[in-house]
Symmetry: D4
Subunit: 212 residues, 8 copies
């Protein structure tokens, strides 16, 4: 609502009936709505009632956006950067969220630190972004490397991907908090939504649209 953003519902731990009635309430107020962490089965329950909604299974997001409200004149974009298939769920949670919040998004999904040249091949396009959301699991080193190569703000999202001394994402989280590159701030483990939300706020500043 604020910032022209849709209302956001956190789907985890809610029943499909609860989710449906929350959506109905929000829609009856004429607002856009975004449901995160919602399983396919719960989403399908809502889709029977609201067939115009879109469900993205990788991102686990159900969303609806009034296209007439989209602002096409702004060229700036958010770069969503990650190393590969393991971190896709979180990266897509970020990407779909950012799009639902009205941002242009470009995905860079195969640019991990262990193969630095793929990152360097894409760095010019990443550099042109307004802000980057960098998603990484295991050792979580990607934001540090990207941060050394670009001069816009980076929102770092640690993921729980890994095993053993990864301790469910603690390793990646600590790495990102201790980054020796400047211009990096961090959100909770697996919080692709939060990474995108922060990036969208910055994107809005770039649009010059923040006049509430």
């Amino acid at each position: 609502k604020r910032q022209g953003f849709p209302e956001v519902v956190y789907g985890e731990g809610k029943t499909k009936e609860q989710i449906l009635s929350i959506i109905e309430a929000i829609r009856s107020n004429g607002n856009d709505v975004l449901v995160t962490r919602i399983s396919k089965e719960k989403a399908e329950h809502a889709l029977t009632e609201f067939p115009e909604f879109l469900y993205n299974e990788t991102a686990q997001i159900l969303s609806w956006k009034d296209e007439s409200k989209v602002d096409d004149s702004f060229q700036g974009y958010i770069a969503i950067v990650c190393a590969g298939t393991s971190d896709l769920r979180v990266a897509e949670e970020a990407a779909i969220t950012a799009e639902a919040l009205g941002c242009n998004v470009r995905r860079f999904y195969d640019v991990g630190v262990a193969g630095i040249h793929r990152l360097l091949d894409n760095i010019e396009e990443i550099r042109q972004a307004t802000v980057s959301v960098v998603v990484a699991g295991m050792e979580g080193a990607l934001p540090s490397v990207v941060g050394g190569l670009v001069s816009h703000p980076i929102i770092a999202v640690p993921t729980s991907i890994g095993y053993g001394a990864n301790f469910n994402g603690l390793s990646a989280l600590l790495t990102m908090l201790n980054s020796c590159a400047s211009g990096i701030s961090v959100v909770n483990i697996d919080n692709g939504f939060g990474g995108a939300y922060n990036a969208a706020l910055i994107n809005n500043i770039a649009k010059g649209a923040r006049k509430q």
Copy 2:
């Protein structure tokens, strides 16, 4: 250098001789310079050579800025928010850094969660900021409360102030990472510099000055 920012030197663990010669090297290239985490005694050694520098003892920062480069036309400002005297050192590290990076800064230094009305009395002026740096120790709850009241990005800085189950800032750090308010990202414990650096990058976006 990038973003028109001065070069930053991390003073901790460097001798006064090392710091002085690093400053000389940077100045001889005609660049501005900012030294963080520098004690009074080390700063005085540098000031004998560079009397035009300013030292801020609370912030432990030594800095020099070519005033002719300052851009006075931009009205936007960064809000630096904290609860009181205990967190002052980190808040001032943020404030002085932000100013040295060319930002307008407004300080809100007595607005902790345990006395919510002082925060509410100032909230309109905080709301008008482009971005807030919210500094908090002990339970670190302040960013969550501010985050619920404003709609711009918040950079949260946990401090190590506290004792016992505070575990040197771990408590405040976890609080901020788990915030139920959207639009909050986090930097390392006591990293006022990092909080301000992220805020300055966002401030520059607001200026529309990002054209490197």
Copy 3:
């Protein structure tokens, strides 16, 4: 028994047969009984034998109370405060427990820190309570804010709601232990029962009923 309280049975890890025979033993002594952490299925087993018992599924509590023993003359009440649906199970464990221990209870269930105005709208009624039980997950900041607004004792109950750096409630627990507001003490993660028990002891002091 002491304080006129019912005997309390912790249902987790006990079979439905064990629970039933414990209830029979207590009832045969003429005492009231409260079973916490009991699933619907186990409760139904007991209800076939003791149809006068009440089962609350949200709270996972089965209880019986001799209404003739209830003291209606006392106007004081316990405020149970939480942020929303996620913490309901624990909040209701507290609320139903407090009622079973003979207390008047008022529920404030939508007053989280990220929307401080809903809390402020209810604060006068919370302030009139004898004691508050404040339940919060994620960053667990709510007791600090309430604690700054009321001048009666607060029992803070951290919950395990959240993910990632929440570490199963550790984040909320540390927040509450480090609160900068005075008058807050803390019980175990998810221990709604314990929060209510402490509050009920204080409530009894207010009643002037403690004359054992």
Copy 4:
């Protein structure tokens, strides 16, 4: 101020000049004042200006109370319970605080779990208290044992006394949070002040004095 309590100043990390000027400000408003965590040297600085103040070196507390405000008619008391000399600093911080907050205090300072009979010899007098503050370091088992023997609320205060797997009070803290006795709530490690503050709030309820 609220509850008729003096204003409380946390002395740690403040200079003697800062403390003195804070005291002057509070006194000039006609309020009572309590300074905790204040070293002998800082206290002596304040005492030259305010010779009517009392300094307790074990408790590290400087306080002043207008005796004319003391309410002598209330017979109830707070029991401060601990195992021995190691925990004395925290126990006395609790005891002196409680007295400064207008409570009657009785000290039980040699009643650890490893010598249960000394506790049993004193249990009747502890039982008569309105509320107990139980202070314990090392394994922190004392609140559980006292909690099983009394039926009033217990505020448990873990201390950092111990070594090795004590982890600076973590051991005692976890013990108290997991107590199998009902009616125990916990404050931060070494927080004797907090323990007493909670107890004083309960004591005030017993006085029937809570009518702000």
Copy 5:
């Protein structure tokens, strides 16, 4: 084998076929055998082949002992002490193991710290034991209290019973390691077998039988 003890097999993670063939190998050497952490289903598979074995479901132990080897002349016994039904599995693992290792065992299973009088009622018989195995979960305070009352060695066994800040037995483990009572040593969380094995070695010393 050493100490006249049976060979011990750790059943967890072994298939029923693997367990059966290990038993056959040990028996074919004429040795006694004890299988711990073995489920009912796996035990029944072995019992079809070795019907003379005994399976204890609470303890999850399958064992065989040549009665002709038992030494009836020794009167000394091991006390197995715990607080109640929750810790029964571990306590019985200890008790059955100790018996299988040729020791006399006496069980004291309802003597927790929150009801100290039940412990005091049994203390004389516990005191007469050669050695005690004290099993406790949650806050794990029982060994400290027993240790203060008896003057023989205590093997403390923390259990994972509890929730929240119990952290799967960490709380009880730290409590026992930090005990202020002398004469307590500790084994791994839930390691009833280990507690009994240490006790049996001490029991053998008492028998004067250690002459290998």
Copy 6:
């Protein structure tokens, strides 16, 4: 007192005056006394008054024992085993304590796991001991190896010797608790006293002297 043991005073955190007056009190009752964790300077203060006491600087122990009470007829001994000079302080705390408690002690101080042959050269004499106290820092593997070679009880004492991922003894502590050798129980980090105390209780059982 119990077990014919001297009374034990923990010197850390006590002033030299406090220690002296505690000694005087114990001696005036005719009891033996042992002071652990006492610095040379504090010990010398006590020695001026009690010149017949012995101070061991490595062990940091001051003790007095009435030689007429020593029982020379018992041949059994306690083996104190460690890897080298780094762990000497804790090993000697154990050795001197055991001797003060009336036990015969044999020291094996250069038998670490990284040079297994020195251990094997001494293993027969270690095997003959009634009980071993095995002291180890860094990875703490020594008790497991000794435990596999002897069939008497082992009291394992982790030390805080090491750096980095040693985490002040946590590494050695966890190693010992998880030992795959049977017959090992563990005391607190650096608790040489506790290791010896447990061993002395077992030694007394071997003496057949436990008749309190």
Copy 7:
């Protein structure tokens, strides 16, 4: 590819379809391939298409190697060392990986620290290896003991085998990092693949084959 190694695919979290198509892509480039952490069911899906592949169920590895590329002239071998059946999965992950990377492997699978003589019986053959991979769970002491007996590099692999204070392999990991034997380096918990990969790199150095 580099070092003549096959390409490695991490199977966990990938569907059987994804795995199959990755294999097809690699094979179509003429490269060898190794899939780790792949369940039997997924492997069978791939085997229908690539019947010449081998699946090892204990190791959970599917692999293919062009035998014509194998270098038979090199006599050096890697020793894979572990204590017993519990650590087999990880040890076999290491062994099969090393073989797939073109190394000779010798297995020493029953040589734990609690039975040191089985290790000593095999030590000469272990000593002749170029490098050892030592796998251990629970207390993880085996690398220290082997490290003291051989003078080639050891790659230590902690496993998550154990319970309680093992904390899912943390205990073994810390043990190995703190080893007092020189020449030991460590990989992640349960990372048999990584242990073998490092050993194979060293093995290649021994072959003199490193000429990329």
Copy 8:
């Protein structure tokens, strides 16, 4: 001694007299000697007796090597890689150790992840090394990046450099253990000696000199 290496003495916690007499003992056997973690003052004490020794203050190492034993024919070298001045002490401990163990060393000391181009400028020369020791503090990401660029073994050494959520090197340690690049193994925090020792063993394999 083994591998033709000098004997190594760990200087920390040893007095200057102890160190001198250990050196005398080793030299009298005709062996080379290396003392690590030795302060300047202790080193000077040894140098008065052994003026032919060399002391490196940055590395805190005192060493002596019989030049006649050095093998000049081997061209292979060890790359020691780190990000900058903060990690110099540990990097030099590694470098000086490796040289004392008879290896050729090349230093790459300004190649951190936040400035990836400096690393890329040097990567060819690093690639030619037999083995790399990569030292990094703060987020510890450097080994992952180097590991993706070279195909020889990497020994990663985390340092304790950093603050806040660095937790004294834990952050860098976890990063390295979770590296997504293959061919990386890890030693203890700040253990430059251990990193170099492992590298020297591998270097010896390359020399083909391992024929003990």
